[in-house]
Amino acid sequence: MTDKKHKLLEVKGLTMDFGGLRAVDSVSLAVHEGEIAALIGPNGAGKTTFFNCITGIYTPTSGDILLHPKGLSTRRLNGLKPNKVTEMGLARTFQNVRLFPGMTVLENVMIGRHCRTHSGIFRSIIRNRSVREEEQETVESSYRLLEKVGLEKFVNEFARNLPYGAQRRLEIARALATDPFLLLLDEPAAGMNPYETSELDQLISRISEEEQIAILLIEHDMKLVMKISNPIYVMEYGKKIAQGSPLEIRDNPKVIEAYLGEEVDA
């Protein structure tokens, strides 16, 4: 399976220390083209820290994060600034929604287009034809993305006024606006009701198929993970304890132990 597909993201022995605390301990994983990979684990296992290392919010203590964009040379992401990582085609969402609350829904998505557009200060002041065209293009493409995630009816609403599920989807739309080839979703279904969750899993599958974007997601909702993702990586106490298809993971004794706790013999 791994031989045929192009490897997009390769993480080798990633370690992250906070003082004396090792939050992520030599974790390796890979995401291939067309995959929806999932990273699961109990609370505090280091999943979000792992995400933050990849996206440049933290600089990892050791290990390699390699990005292999199709048709371009390999890039090492360690220590790059978050905006550089995003520019390279890696977009993310946040566990606790981080929208721009005082901007409209459309403007939120337009921010995502920032790294793909070029008008600087002087051209913005002159506002010549090419700048106006670029602006219009940004508006149109952002609106199309809103249609894609089903938020076009909120277009001029402030982001803070959206219902929670819609905020989550807006975050995905904003991430998509950066034209990524790999999308990192940090607990996209957290706090959603079952109906919203089922809408979300359709959306994620659709993004993966239609847009040809590989996805790596952190999730606690096992139903969602088992349904849409393959492979699954499991972390506990900063270490990777298992990886494989949903079926393999379901029956893995280590995983069951991590989630249900060790049996104590009295």
Partner: protein, 406 residues
Amino acid sequence: MLREFKQSLLIALWFVFLTFPLMVVRVNTIENVVVWRWANILWVAIGAFVLSYCWRYMLARRQRQSKKAEEGIDTRGPLQAALDNVQLRNRAMAVLLALAVIFPLVFDTYQTSIMVTALIFVVLGLGLNIGVGLAGLLDLGYVAFFGVGAYTYAILNANFDLGFWIVLPIGGVLGCLFGVVLGFPILRLRGDYLAIVTLGFGMIFKVVMENWETLSRGPSGIANIDRPGLFGLEMTLAQSTVYIYYIMIALVILTIIVTNRLKNSRVGRAWIALREDEIACVAMGIDMARTKLSAYALGAFWAGMVGVLFAAKTTFINPAGFTFMQSAIILSIVVLGGMGSILGVILGAFILVLLPEYLRAFSEYRMLVFGAAMTLMMIFRPQGLISNLRQIYQYKGSKDSTAHDG
């Protein structure tokens, strides 16, 4: 009804008690007698009583408004609604421009001079608005950039005899440069820390100018700075004031156009995003360092430019003119007018500069009124006098092209 009456009565009593030592008792130290001014009690009581009713009414009104806003009902006042109407806005602007042009022809030199001061603060407010209002970078030392511009002109004029028009852009660029210089060390700072560092920067500027005698001539300042020239024409004081007034009008218009365009551009959106959420902002591919520095640099640019004009207008500057008080007033202009709102900032500048000027009779109470007004403002209208006008986008969409337009 009765409950409210009782409450107001209690408030009135409380105020009588609080103000008793100040308002009633007066010790005449010459004749060693105590004068009891009992009539004052009555006024305090009546005042407090009436005000408490006003206060209650305002609070109730604000609650109703926020409730309406939650239900999605339009809560814009008539003024805000009128401003959202583009046609009406354009007409109003034309009228205002005409008024501005004929102003010095109708009023005397004194009035024109005051108006120039107000316009200087309009530009300062608009410049600070880029940093504070749009990018959310609190700056308590903004007056330093103003000072940089003023001293640039004063020093270059005194030592090298350079004219106003040559130094005007130099002042702007130097202000810009100092903006970047200040911007670098505070890239990582936020909130309180940022405020303290900028405050320090403002202080440093003043202290340096007071002590670097060879450059700035110290606390005695630089005098006899040339007024702006017009092809070597000799001008009287009155003519020169009118000339400066027109330069200032042009500068204000330029500032409005530029800041307005920037606000509604890719760069401006990045500033606003930075204000809203820094981490999300960088995760969406925005270069934080560049965005912050550009906000500082552009804000400082206007202060530098207008500083040159200030020096040319007063023909004398010294470090005492660039104190924290000035920074605080510029910041108040932005906050009072409405953060991020260009029109609001302009209105705020006129109110804060012109009112004290025309209410000289009450100048003792100026700071008292000022403080009270700001407090009330923050309670009843935290978004400022005029909230930000929203940009309207036109989009077609792929599904239905007609339903969403406008």
